[in-house]
């Protein structure tokens, strides 16, 4: 497939507006602002079948159409709080092609009639935030932002807000609370942000990669976009390959590419010629797949049919020497650190799961620990305000279900079935 989202990333100074415009950049924005009505833009994106790349896969154009016709300001927010373990695609776009994202933001803002847009960028991306502000300045100098853009009567400002190291702020309602200058606590939906979001006004939150698709849809049409990928998951996709593969990295391919092909052809197969053991297909919050389950296509519906999720397409590959109990413990530490503390089941349950997994991997597991873990999972699942609870439960439940023998062995023999020396992930090997 011809590269679409990553076509410029190897070009020198690809973050500069002049380079972006040489390859057709801002043609879509000029066309939208001069020739199209907001409704036409929404319809075009709806027709393209573009689904949100942040993880949920909700159709972007449909989301935009939920913005009510009320006399309130509307806001567009670009979610650049990339923090799902295994995901590192948005950083690539932010660093190498910020203008593609900014053009997408401008078009989306126009479509929902927003005059202010925000980029909420994770706090650690400090250099990328600087780059982004420079890019915004370049846009202003060209007359693509500000008051009365290209004499159209349309006004738009884009502001960059940095997060400060809270995973939960990737969840859209938490993100908006944080954007309002508060603790990043999620809110119950409904009301959905499209109706009541930032400062109680209609707000659309879209992922970086989703917005980067938008200028291409305007330029080439929805049918072109639909010709890439599968019927229900259209367009190009950035797949992030990490863990035990020879060539980890971001690969741009159509939606629905076979998972096995991604791992063995694009990412070069398993490191040290070892055997593949398990794959997390869509970031750490998605249920793990065993080697025997990876003959699936990477689109929203196929991965869901296999009992997991495409999520952010953060594919974490684990070889035969991986201690799955220890891998599960590692992720439980992550979730225990990141729970926002608002809902009791999550605040109490997630760190408790970490404690139990910690003692199992230390050879002090107790006979009923696995039942206890599964019981805690049940008490968290679907009992929290936001999907974080379910996300924290997914690894524990799926690892126990699929690698039960490793958990049982740890408890019975006080050591790992896989790495007989010590804890594989924390050991100095």
């Amino acid at each position: 497939m011809e590269k679409i989202l990553t076509k410029n990333i190897e070009t020198e100074n690809s973050h500069r507006i002049s380079v972006y415009m040489e390859s057709g950049g801002y043609e879509a924005w000029r066309k939208v602002v001069r020739e199209m009505s907001p409704e036409e833009v929404v319809e075009t994106v709806k027709d393209s079948g573009l689904r949100g790349r942040g993880g949920a896969g909700f159709p972007a154009g449909v989301k935009w159409s939920f913005v009510p016709k009320v006399d309130k300001p509307k806001y567009l927010v670009c979610n650049a709080d990339e923090s799902e373990p295994g995901t590192f695609k948005d950083r690539l776009l932010l660093e190498n092609d910020p203008h593609m994202m900014l053009e997408g933001i401008a078009i989306a803002s126009y479509a929902i009639k927003a005059n202010t847009a925000f980029v909420y960028i994770r706090g650690e991306f400090a250099n990328q935030a600087v780059l982004l502000n420079e890019a915004i300045q370049e846009m202003k100098e060209k007359g693509y932002l500000g008051k009365n853009i290209l004499s159209s009567g349309y006004d738009l400002e884009i502001l960059v807000t940095r997060g400060a190291g809270a995973y939960i702020c990737g969840e859209e309602t938490a993100l908006l609370t944080s954007l309002e200058g508060k603790r990043g606590y999620p809110k119950i939906k409904p009301p959905f942000p499209a109706v009541e979001g930032y400062l109680h006004s209609p707000t659309i939150v879209n992922n970086v990669e989703t917005l980067c698709c938008v200028p291409h849809i305007i330029n080439n049409g929805p049918d072109w976009f639909k010709s890439i990928g599968t019927e229900k998951s259209s367009g190009p996709k950035l797949y992030c390959l990490s863990g035990h593969v020879r060539n980890p990295g971001v690969y741009e391919l159509p939606m629905g590419v076979p998972l096995r092909e991604l791992i063995f052809e694009h990412a070069g197969g398993i490191l040290h010629n070892r055997k593949l053991k398990a794959v997390i297909p869509g970031g750490s919050s998605t249920p793990v797949l065993k080697e025997s389950e990876i003959d699936i296509n990477m689109d929203f519906d196929s991965v869901a049919a296999a009992g997991s999720m495409l999520g952010s397409a953060g594919i974490i590959v684990m070889d035969e020497n991986t201690d799955m109990v220890d891998a599960c413990y590692n992720l439980s530490k992550f979730y225990a650190h990141e729970t926002c503390g608002q809902c009791t089941p999550c605040r109490e349950g997630v760190p408790w799961m970490k404690t139990i997994l910690g003692r199992i991997t230390n050879g002090r597991g107790r006979g009923r620990d696995i039942d206890l873990l599964l019981d805690i999972c049940k008490s968290i699942e679907k009992r929290t305000i936001c999907p974080f609870g379910d996300a924290a439960v997914a690894p524990v439940k799926s690892y126990i279900e699929k690698f039960r023998e490793e958990f049982d062995y740890y408890i019975e023999y006080k050591k790992s079935l896989i790495s007989q020396n010590a804890k594989s992930l924390d050991a100095v090997n």
Binding site: G86, E124, A166, L199, G243, A327, N330, E338, L425, V428
Partner: protein, 157 residues
């Protein structure tokens, strides 16, 4: 440590507040700016910010205390964050951390005697394709080896 904002920082704060639809929305960026000015988010720093932004200090503290990147205590001149979440762990982040720990003779959360480095363990930094990695101040250092780490740290002496 300064006990007030510099004139330049005050102007920057003013600009921030003016750019957002409401003043509270400038808080996240304002706290980063406060940390840059004061080194960490002390109560005194929050009081100074409260005065500049005309927001209750309790409100600012409520926000600041939620986020790990706003330091509540003084840190060294350079802060090293070693990512230890699964994708990095699979590629040997434990070795990176142990190497740094031995080299700097400090554990996670500690600062070297010369105040040059603070060592931290970080949750996923979105650099899984170039694991193991660490962040030093604002910069990412990827595909780490012991030789690379020596070279990187050398730049800070």
């Amino acid at each position: 440590m300064p006990d007030t904002f510099s004139t330049e920082a005050k102007a920057e704060l003013k600009k921030l507040m003016d750019s957002y639809p409401d003043r509270m929305s400038a808080v996240m960026n304002a706290l980063h700016l406060t940390q840059r000015e004061f080194g960490y988010i002390s109560y005194e720093a929050l009081e100074a910010l409260s005065k500049e932004m005309d927001l209750p200090v309790q409100q600012l503290e409520d926000t600041a205390s939620f986020y790990t990147m706003y330091f509540k205590e003084p840190v060294g001149e350079n802060v090293i964050w070693v990512c230890h979440t699964l994708p990095c762990a699979l590629r040997g982040s434990a070795n990176v951390f142990e190497y740094l720990k031995d080299k700097l003779e400090i554990d996670a959360g500690e600062t070297t005697n010369d105040n040059r480095f603070t060592l931290m363990k970080a949750e996923c930094l979105a650099s899984c394709g170039s694991a193991p990695m660490m962040q030093v101040n604002d910069d990412y250092f990827e595909d780490l080896t012991e030789e690379k780490i020596d070279k990187i740290l050398g730049k800070f002496y």
